[in-house]
Symmetry: C2
Subunit: 296 residues, 2 copies
């Protein structure tokens, strides 16, 4: 795919996601809650997960209304996890997406409630009663998202993260943590997009493999950027893994081997697409490249 064509597509999709999220996240949730929720999810972030949903849906001829809702739901889960992750009891971070974190702006209790409400909203977004999404697909999307967000997925990964501070992990344990903490939701993004259309078992398995590889690559690159980029570029506090004495791919593998590992995962993602039997995987292929080549 021409990079220009990808940029045109992704910019248009980012606009669509932003305005759809803007419509979904309530202005009128009471006592400032809506304001905190909107602050936590609107106007920020790379929106990688929504783009994975939409690219996967496009690859399999997915239904647009469902895919757009799935894209917003996944981003709501991601955004809520950041709000909670930044709280004083977790990473205690003050900067996110170039702005003060939600609890710095709205207080710790409101930030926790906003995160809680964003998780509920994700499932609300997936279950419209306006006939726009087939009920069986609604159920399938809720199933994929709930499993990725919960104890076996993202929340479980964060529990390992919490317990790992100051403990050396080997590469296997580190991968297990990240497959859950960030990988599960990135993989679910691909599969939720795929669920919006039609795939055979081979295609589904290939997209699952693609999602796993991209998910892990994302984290490896995150660990690299944490030590090679300043906070201003990242829009969040750089070097914090080091400060918190957290194991990362850089501390476990070294910087060069971490870079080589990211390349290996990019190739694995491409190889999965090659075996998928799905005709048009160019957007997904380009997304894997962007994940590895990004500098913020």
């Amino acid at each position: 795919m021409k990079r220009d064509a990808f940029d045109t597509w992704s910019l248009a999709e980012l606009d669509a996601v932003e305005s759809t999220l803007d419509a979904f996240v309530p202005v009128d949730a009471p006592a400032g809650l809506g304001e905190a929720m909107r602050y936590g999810v609107l106007d920020g972030g790379k929106r990688l997960r929504p783009l994975l949903v939409l690219a996967a849906s496009n690859a399999v001829g997915g239904r647009r209304a469902a895919a757009l809702r799935a894209a917003c739901a996944v981003e709501l889960i991601h955004a809520y996890s950041l709000v909670h992750d930044d709280l004083p009891c977790m990473d205690d971070d003050v900067l996110r997406r170039g702005k003060p974190t939600v609890h710095v702006r709205f207080g710790v209790a409101q930030a926790m409630l906003a995160g809680d409400a964003m998780q509920a909203l994700a499932f609300e977004v997936l279950t419209p009663d306006d006939g726009s999404v087939d009920p069986a697909l609604q159920a399938r999307l809720c199933a994929l998202l709930a499993r990725a967000a919960g104890g076996a997925g993202m929340a479980g990964g964060q529990a390992i993260d919490l317990a790992s501070v100051g403990h050396p992990l080997d590469e296997h344990a580190l991968s297990d943590m990240h497959r859950r903490k960030t990988g599960a939701l990135l993989r679910a993004s691909v599969l939720m997009g795929a669920a919006c259309g039609t795939t055979d078992e081979r295609g589904w398995r290939a997209l699952s493999d693609y999602g796993s590889a991209v998910g892990l690559a994302f984290q490896v690159v995150d660990d690299i950027l944490d030590v090679t980029q300043p906070s201003a570029t990242l829009g969040k506090t750089a070097g914090k893994d080091h400060v918190h004495n957290k194991p990362t791919y850089v501390t476990v593998l070294g910087l060069d081997a971490a870079r080589a590992h990211a390349e290996t995962l990019r190739r694995a993602a491409h190889a999965a697409l090659d075996t998928s039997g799905i005709a048009d995987t160019e957007q997904l292929r380009e997304l894997a490249d962007r994940v590895v080549e990004r500098d913020s």
Copy 2:
């Protein structure tokens, strides 16, 4: 309904809910997360919400497998809200269901993650892929639960609660807060049970009215018990509304008028059942009585 028959039914159902929750809440969620989740939801609580789900489902000939899952999902949402509500940034409470609260036992960060994972698990429980629950019903149950848990419901009510500390509320504002904070999930319990079977529009509306009345009655009685019962009876810290300078039905109406209000709501709940056109509402009727007559 004979009280003995109700007790026999409800005891059997409490056993069924407990063993189903025990099977759903993962032993093996990593790094202690599963242990914290299980501590937060198993072996405690009155299980009023599950009983409302099951009684409503029985009234409309609902499917057992779906109703039992709905009962567990609602209880998971309720239990997660207690875990988060007890955190130092919220009510900072140390006693719940007669035991140390989750964060006292497992730490603040793990308690927050356990609550997060319990919310996700609720939606996981509603979306089995084993054919036991029709996908359209799965979607309907997710829709009802997400709306009750989120910004317009429970989380929104907690935001009002947070903002209300030290501020006098009139009865209208107090009711609005409680309709969201506790009422939305209690009403959703009734409607999720109803969704498991067949109701006409009149029946649905009546059950919704019943759920609203029981939900508000529950809170009025909670406020009464907070000032009339010792902590040992309640299994949680008594008198804490007063300590936190929170408006309650007792502070707004006075104790006698609060008791009269609970009776009015009980009659409203019964009246809604009378107009429902549903033949067997005895379990629901008895549940309304128990909510008002309880002493803990």
